[in-house]
């Protein structure tokens, strides 16, 4: 094969490779039940510093991805806070991740709904989009003490959903 033919073949292969890569990366699915939860640290919404899901190993965590501009997030906020008040403790916590939001708006949202559980910030949306693979906000993931996703909820959760899908898995709630 001549040099020109080799270059042409390499060019075609490069274009095909790029197309395949584009298709595969578009089609990549999000986090599913059984997958390990991402442990990249995220900044805290209030108080500075950062936290990682790895800091919560040994504890059940209900990760809730939200934004202050998201209307369904407003609807589910009271249910999540009430769930935290009832079940939050050494073995369980709700953990909010405020995504693609102005921090001042996120903090105002937390104040407005009197949320007491920890809140992290994902300003550029990378954690929600690339690590969790969310399709929108809100989405919630129940993570077990080993860091594996056990429940995935797309859209807002309410008290009934939490009672039926999350409570049966929490050891404290069973006893």
């Amino acid at each position: 094969m001549s040099v020109r033919s080799s270059i042409a073949v390499l060019g075609v292969l490069a274009v095909v490779g790029l197309l395949v890569f584009g298709l595969l990366s578009k089609g990549s699915s999000g986090l599913e039940v059984g997958d390990p939860v991402p442990v990249e640290p995220l900044p805290r919404l209030k108080g500075g510093g950062s936290e990682s899901l790895a800091d919560y190993r040994g504890k059940w965590v209900l990760v809730n991805i939200w934004a202050s501009w998201c209307i369904p997030c407003r609807d589910e906020a009271p249910a999540l806070q009430s769930f935290q008040q009832r079940y939050g403790g050494p073995g369980f916590t709700v953990l909010g991740i405020d995504t693609r939001d102005l921090s001042v708006d996120g903090r105002a949202f937390v104040e407005r709904y009197a949320m007491t559980y920890p809140q992290l910030r994902d300003g550029n949306g990378n954690a929600a989009d690339e690590e969790y693979g969310t399709t929108g906000v809100p989405e919630s993931y129940l993570v077990d003490p080993r860091g594996k996703v056990r429940v995935h909820a797309i859209g807002p959760v309410d008290e009934e959903y939490l009672r039926e899908e999350v409570v049966p898995l929490l050891p404290e709630a069973k006893s």
Binding site: A67, W69, R100, L102, S103, V104, D105, G123, N124, G125, N126
Partner: protein
């Protein structure tokens, strides 16, 4: 003469306008053309969603505080990351967004120039194009017969 004066005045105004704007501090209209609405995925200038309105309110607040254009863009990057900038920063890996098209253009121009030079050199050598193997004896006989038939 008056037309020339008017032209000079127009050019001077066009040159001075950006300087005057820079001296007067940042403007929402200018910033809207340079930053994105990250939730909408469009220029802020084109976005009308509630999130875009919140971003405008954030920019307006910083303008009221007397922040410069660069300071406001830095604040937006701190909130939303580099993706909020419509144009990538001209440093680090993002510099490749500016360099790659220039390098690609230069490589294409050099390749084109080499190709043209080779083509011209081959053309100006004066040598006749290399002939092929020619028709076989049978084909030559058929060709002669056809030519004779049409009396060419």
């Amino acid at each position: 003469m008056s037309a020339r004066l008017a032209l000079v005045a127009a050019v001077a105004l066009a040159l001075l306008a950006p300087a005057a704007s820079a001296e007067g501090g940042a403007s929402l209209t200018e910033l809207e053309k340079q930053v994105m609405c990250p939730v909408c995925g469009t220029l802020l200038q084109l976005a009308e969603s509630p999130q875009a309105q919140r971003e405008r309110a954030f920019i307006n607040r910083l303008i009221d505080e007397g922040k410069s254009e660069e300071q406001i863009k830095d604040a937006l990057v701190a909130e939303y990351g580099d993706e909020v900038l419509a144009l990538p920063p001209d440093s680090g890996f993002s510099l490749s967004a500016y360099l790659v098209p220039i390098i690609a253009f230069l490589v294409a121009a050099v390749a084109l120039a080499i190709g043209v030079l080779r083509w011209r050199r081959g053309d100006s050598s004066g040598a006749p194009p290399r002939a092929g193997p020619g028709p076989s004896g049978e084909d030559r006989d058929r060709l002669d017969a056809d030519l004779a038939r049409y009396d060419l």
